[in-house]
Amino acid sequence: MKKLFALLTVLSLAALDGFAKQILDNPAKGTAPVASINVLSFAPEGVLLVGDGTNRKIVAISTGDTTELKGEFGETKGFGSEIAGRLGVKAGDVEIIDIAVNPASRRLYAAVRKQDDKSQLVVTLAPGGKVEHFSFEDREYAVVPLPEGVSRVTDIVWVGGKLVAAARANEEFASKIYAVDGPVQHNRGGQLYSAETYHVSHRRWETKAPMSVMLPYEEDGKHYIVGAFSCTPVVKYPIDAIQPGAKINGISMIELGSGNRPLDMFGYEKDGKASVLTNTYRFHHSKQPYGPSPHLAFRFDEALLGSEKTNEGAIHRTRDTKEAAGKIDIAEPYHGVVHMDRLDSKSALALRETNGKDFDLVTIALP
């Protein structure tokens, strides 16, 4: 639920120069050692990126799933129950940790935890198909070790030929960016960076806030990652600044308003206009709701990421209401969405909470 529009650009460029075939270099073969999952994402060529902060690693797995699947997902009521049933438990006894759509195939991947014995697994769903278990056995894979101090990976993107992850520790409230140059080699680590970010809502530069979600972004041929934080600055970081010894300064571009924690984010293009969609958990919901659920989504014009108004001058959704009109919206059809990812050029796949114990899988038109 992260990656995006710019990833497609990377893909198309990759097809021209052969770059995409070099996501994994000299991978290991066998059972991919995934023990715990924080987040799922995709690199080009159907390479699944599994963030396992608990065991301080990212596992990049070649799925071989690179043929585009046709057909519609429609709506699956009780999708959580369906997955739970395949594991032999009730809906409330599993947690869907994350979802990601493989952009190479349009297949849905979901990370799931069986609560009683902590089994963690990935299941897949093809359009019109049934839930399948994605086995980690007999795979080509590479383990990217993460340094001490990381205990949770909050998002991973592949951008500008690098694998970039947002990470944090259980004990520290800090923004860490981890980057390793591609192609990824088994057991070759990268660097952990501390990123300084201007937080628009309280007008302050700081490192003491972890990034929640990221997406790759390209502007004038230059690669960036765009990160969103709680309360809710949207910040871009130039990829070429991620160099050993460098201090990474983010550029705050948008402020979506306080009381929100981003959960997923992706970009897309519709009717010739590029947008970014991010769903959030609103902890102000009980006092200041924006809809029927604390889970809601914001759409904003991708062009705002290229604005000259930055940091102190960044557009603020609730303060600059006139300027933000039509550029930053609440995406009403996405109320209640807990996890989502872009499916194709027209729609997203999303998990919508139902009764607090189950989720429906829904296909929602891109706003």
């Binding site: 065991n55 049933g85 395949r86 205990s151 004990e171 809502s201 007008r203 709680s230 306080s258 902890f283």
Partner: protein, 345 residues
């Protein structure tokens, strides 16, 4: 049901995999016609409610057809195994309820910080349980802070689960947006804790272990708040009780305030003429404001540096370099030496 189906049902049975406690379903080879298969389903609470076929591997062995579930069966659940012929026609079935383990309720072993007096801008609690606990967002509605009148503080937590790998320790963050000064969330909702007040951390009795056993009784932990703390934990304010050279006595460090116990181990190091000294362990005492550092080898004579790492935090998230909510443009940050020198003769 035909006689063949009855015989098949009779030999379709649940059992454990030899050498382990994983469950399997098997049927005698002679009762499983060529091309037959077994599926396994969760039996729901509603009559006739049957879950989808579970993830499993079915293999035909010399003497039996065997189904091994891909994931362990769960205690207390009832499962139905169905034998199907190659046309998908049911030949027999067997039902089994996995016994519940006779486990006592989970136990909360410790809460850190241990002091009963905490800064009002406290950033986190650590809860240590005696076994793996049930993960999931529910826990943020099962753990509360009550004020002296028994009123629950509204939305105190950052709802991001941070468990250790074994799910025995939960790091429970008071929402940093209500701790940092000037942040909208604090301005709109106010800080979670006010100075000079009595509060109680309350764990609902419904909080469950991983295997579903609830605490069974509410757990209450009272504390009193001090003024907010915006003072960095400066190593130059620490008082050392030195060990004798040639012994493995601890170096005892007295701090003017407690520090985060979970960050001490990887943020305290000792150098002997610039070379890192191997440490056996670091133990906390007196509300985490006294630390005893034990060497892995007896102390040598020489000149030492006790070094505090940049991520060492006090209970309000202040580090040797910065106050937690410092604006990085603040020129006063980062001016503290992060080491204390001492000598052993």
């Amino acid at each position: 049901m035909s006689l063949a189906a009855l015989l098949a049902s009779a030999s379709l049975a649940f059992g454990t995999v030899p050498g382990g406690d994983a469950w399997k379903v098997s049927i005698r080879a002679e009762d499983a016609p060529e091309g037959s298969a077994i599926t396994l389903h969760l039996v729901g609470q509603e009559p006739d409610s049957l879950g989808p076929a579970m993830f499993a591997k079915v293999t035909r062995q010399e003497s039996a057809l065997v189904l091994e579930p891909s994931f362990p069966l769960s205690a207390g659940n009832t499962y139905l195994a169905i034998l199907l012929d190659k046309a998908g026609k049911e030949l027999g079935q067997a039902k089994y309820t996995v016994p519940r383990k006779d486990s006592p309720p989970p136990r909360l072993e410790a809460i850190y910080p241990t002091s009963e007096k905490l800064p009002a801008n406290l950033l986190k609690f650590y809860l240590y349980f005696d076994r793996s606990m049930r993960e999931g967002q529910d826990l943020f509605d099962q753990i509360h802070i009550e004020d002296a009148n028994g009123q629950r503080v509204h939305a105190p937590w950052r709802r991001l689960e941070l468990w250790t790998a074994d799910a025995k320790r939960l790091t429970l963050w008071i929402h940093p947006g209500r701790v940092k000064r000037g942040v909208n969330l604090r301005e709109q909702l106010g800080p979670v804790l006010l100075p000079g007040k009595e509060y109680t951390l309350v764990l609902d009795k419904t909080l469950r272990s991983a295997d579903g056993i609830p605490l069974g009784q509410e757990i209450r932990h009272s504390f009193r708040t001090l003024p907010e703390d915006y003072v960095r934990p400066r190593p130059d304010s620490w008082v050392l009780e030195l060990p004798l050279a040639g012994t493995s006595q601890p170096l005892v460090v007295h701090l003017p305030e407690p520090v985060d116990h979970a960050l001490v181990k990887r943020n305290i190091s000792i150098l002997l003429t610039g070379k890192k000294v191997g440490l056996d362990r670091i133990e906390a005492g007196e509300g985490e404001s006294v630390w005893s550092i034990y060497p892995s080898q007896p102390w040598e004579s020489g000149n030492y540096d006790l070094v505090a790492g940049p991520d060492l935090e006090d209970l309000a998230g202040n580090t040797p370099e910065r106050v937690f909510d410092t604006d990085l443009k603040d020129a006063s940050s980062g001016d503290t030496p992060a080491n204390v020198e001492f000598s052993l003769d």
